[in-house]
């Protein structure tokens, strides 16, 4: 039996379930309570669980993320919500210099079992300061784990293992996925650190995550009409990266293209391309392609924003380029 729900509802259910079953869990962030959550993920939870556990904070990212760190160190399992990844920059010091680092600096004594949820991505004409995709940046930092759900199942079921993790886990939720509907399956999801092949194919491997998954699947459909049979790998986790899955795919298809909403230079797609080169160089028939965001601050005007973000058209064109490697 399958139910249909949005990713938003799925995450809310996940948070609710965690709050019900573990009294160490509490939610903390801006407007998570009385406002119902900026993206309505926590809507209704204040009424059900009260203000101690659904804790509204002032606009103090550094302090409340640090508070999440301290509370996690001292026996709680906080879910800190940073409204968007754009504001997380104000807490970057706490995330990188404390959360990611305390276990190591203390020689293993201190653990930070903290979950930080952030909304990420562009595409709603919110302009340069509200459209970042920085999950690839965070994936650079040792000591953190970075999850990027793209399906209703993952939105529903990634939170629990993240809460159980004795180390800090960052969950990036693409803003445009909140309204996306899908079937919630009955089966357990694969382990959160594994990538999943969402579409099999044998001409090229398309590697992507999060908000770019649906575009990539749509591109694969379009390409099938041109006789190009694409395999689509959903990474689900950016740190750690599941090399085994996408490398095995590339070994079979001999061509790869990464779709990543981050800016191209120094992005997670660059890391994946490097790993493919390291592990599967002698199985490649073409250089690894990349479709990323154009390297501009995100513009406001619609046609400019659309041109800056990865799109089905750009993915299709990118694949054609990889397939046609010229002599």
């Amino acid at each position: 039996m399958t139910t249909t729900m949005t990713c938003r509802d799925a995450m809310r259910e996940a948070i609710r379930e965690a709050l019900l079953h573990d009294d160490r869990v509490f939610v903390m962030g801006e407007d998570v309570g009385a406002y119902g959550g900026c993206f309505a993920v926590t809507k209704g939870l204040l009424d059900e669980f009260g203000p101690r556990r659904i804790r509204d904070t002032p606009l103090s990212e550094s302090a409340f993320v640090g508070a999440g760190i301290g509370a996690a160190m001292n026996g709680m399992r906080p879910i800190v919500e940073i409204m968007t990844v754009n504001f997380s920059l104000l807490a970057l010091d706490q995330i990188m210099n404390n959360a990611a680092t305390l276990r190591h600096m203390s020689g293993g004594q201190v653990g930070v079992p903290l979950v930080i949820r952030m909304t990420t991505g562009g595409g709603r004409q919110l302009a340069a300061q509200h459209s970042h995709s920085l999950e690839g940046w965070y994936a650079h930092i040792p000591g953190l784990k970075v999850l990027v759900p793209a399906t209703v199942d993952d939105f529903r079921h990634m939170l629990q293992p993240a809460l159980e993790d004795p180390d800090p886990v960052l969950i990036f939720e693409h803003a445009l996925l909140y309204n996306a509907e899908g079937n919630l399956g009955d089966d357990p999801i694969p382990p959160v650190d594994r990538a999943v092949v969402r579409r099999t194919g044998h001409d090229i491997t398309l590697i992507t995550y999060g908000g770019s998954l649906q575009k990539t699947l749509d591109a694969a459909e379009a390409l099938a009409g041109e006789g190009i049979d694409a395999e689509v790998v959903d990474l689900r986790s950016l740190r750690p990266l599941d090399d085994e899955t996408y490398i095995a795919s590339v070994r079979a298809t001999h061509r790869a293209l990464v779709v990543d909403e981050g800016w191209r230079t120094g992005s997670i797609s660059a890391e994946i391309s490097a790993r493919i080169s390291e592990a599967a160089f002698f199985d490649l028939d073409a250089p690894v392609g990349r479709v990323c965001s154009a390297e501009v601050p995100m513009p406001y005007a619609k046609q400019l924003e659309d041109a800056a973000l990865p799109s089905v058209e750009r993915i299709v064109a990118g694949v054609r380029e990889v397939m046609a490697t010229d002599a």
Partner: protein, 333 residues
């Protein structure tokens, strides 16, 4: 070791004991820090090292007012706080020698001393970086109804950071059991307080957040201790956070490598006349609670402790490089 018991409460029938214990702790920290200076010069301690000499009364006085279950967050100038809290000097020294027996496994160094058993939550090299952690520790205790107090030590330089202001607000808003202990030694590295704060009346600034704000002479260990005891009582009883300014001075440079171009030798000399150890010693002698023999014995015992700490550190294990990637994530058994 006797020198470790300074922070235990002593019964009121022998009040002098408690004060002698405070002196002993200050002396231990002083001699320890002096030895660190020498060892650093000999390149046995590396990286950055920030000595607490001159400020001992603050750590000794405040830590003696805490229970063993209370939480402490400190800064990179935290040798004194760790020792006053009860972390054995040998583990602190081993840490600075980079040995696996160090209190942070050799992974942290001088600026990142941790000892979870003593609820000593570091050692932080980012100015004001520890304040949000303190908020979180206190928040957890508050949510779980624990009777713990969290003391957060920081220098007056941290009051310029945004994190200080966010944390003061949050602590007051949520009525958290935190003592914000500001060690005002008048210089943030090389910048004098008057050049960085629009208003140098620090307790006034803190009071603007609706936080109980006190100020005490940080060179007088008895005053610090008494004030700290009052602050702990008030906070533990649910009175909300307290901001405690301790007016103090560091006799040595900011770190080992600092030509001190920003302050005059005369100023240092003037403050040295208010050496907290001299003040305490003088007072105890005047009251007949301390004589030369006791002091000599105390010094000898402390020297032995410090020598032992150095020997322990010297003989410590160098962690094999193959273990580099440990302590990134929890190691499951």
């Amino acid at each position: 070791m006797k020198s470790q018991t300074a922070h235990k409460h002593v019964d009121a029938a022998r009040p002098g004991e408690e004060r002698i214990a405070l002196l002993r702790m200050m002396l231990l920290v002083r001699r320890f820090e002096e030895r660190c200076a020498q060892l650093y010069s000999e390149a046995k301690i590396r990286g950055f090292m920030h000595l607490y000499i001159g400020e001992e009364a603050v750590a000794a006085g405040v830590c003696a007012a805490l229970g063993s279950d209370d939480n402490i967050v400190a800064t990179y100038r935290e040798h004194g706080h760790a020792i006053a809290r009860g972390v054995e000097p040998k583990f602190v020294m081993a840490e600075m020698f980079g040995r696996a027996e160090g209190c942070s496994g050799g992974r942290g160094g001088s600026m990142h001393l941790f000892d979870v058993n003593h609820r000593f939550f570091g050692g932080n090299a980012i100015v004001a970086g520890g304040l949000p952690i303190a908020i979180g520790l206190a928040l957890a205790d508050h949510l779980r109804g624990e009777q713990r107090v969290t003391v957060c030590f920081f220098g007056e330089g941290a009051m310029a950071e945004g994190e200080f202001h966010e944390c003061m607000n949050l602590a007051a808003l949520w009525r958290l059991p935190i003592i914000f202990c500001c060690e005002n030694n008048l210089y943030a590295m090389g910048t004098a307080l008057s050049r960085s704060e629009s208003d140098t009346d620090l307790p006034l600034k803190a009071a603007g957040y609706n936080v109980a704000s006190w100020s005490v002479d940080g060179m007088d260990v008895d005053a610090v201790h008494a004030t700290a005891q009052r602050a702990v009582l008030a906070t533990r009883a649910g009175g909300g956070p307290v901001f405690l300014e301790c007016r103090t001075y560091r006799f040595r440079a900011h770190s080992m490598y600092d030509p001190e171009l920003y302050r005059s030798k005369e100023e240092v000399a003037t403050w040295r006349e208010r050496d907290p150890i001299d003040i305490a010693t003088g007072r105890l002698r005047d009251e007949g609670l301390l004589d030369d023999d006791t002091l000599t014995a105390m010094e000898a015992a402390i020297t032995a402790d410090v020598d032992a700490a150095v020997a322990f550190a010297d003989a410590g294990t160098v962690e094999p490089v193959a273990q580099l990637n440990r302590h990134l994530y929890a190691e499951h058994v």
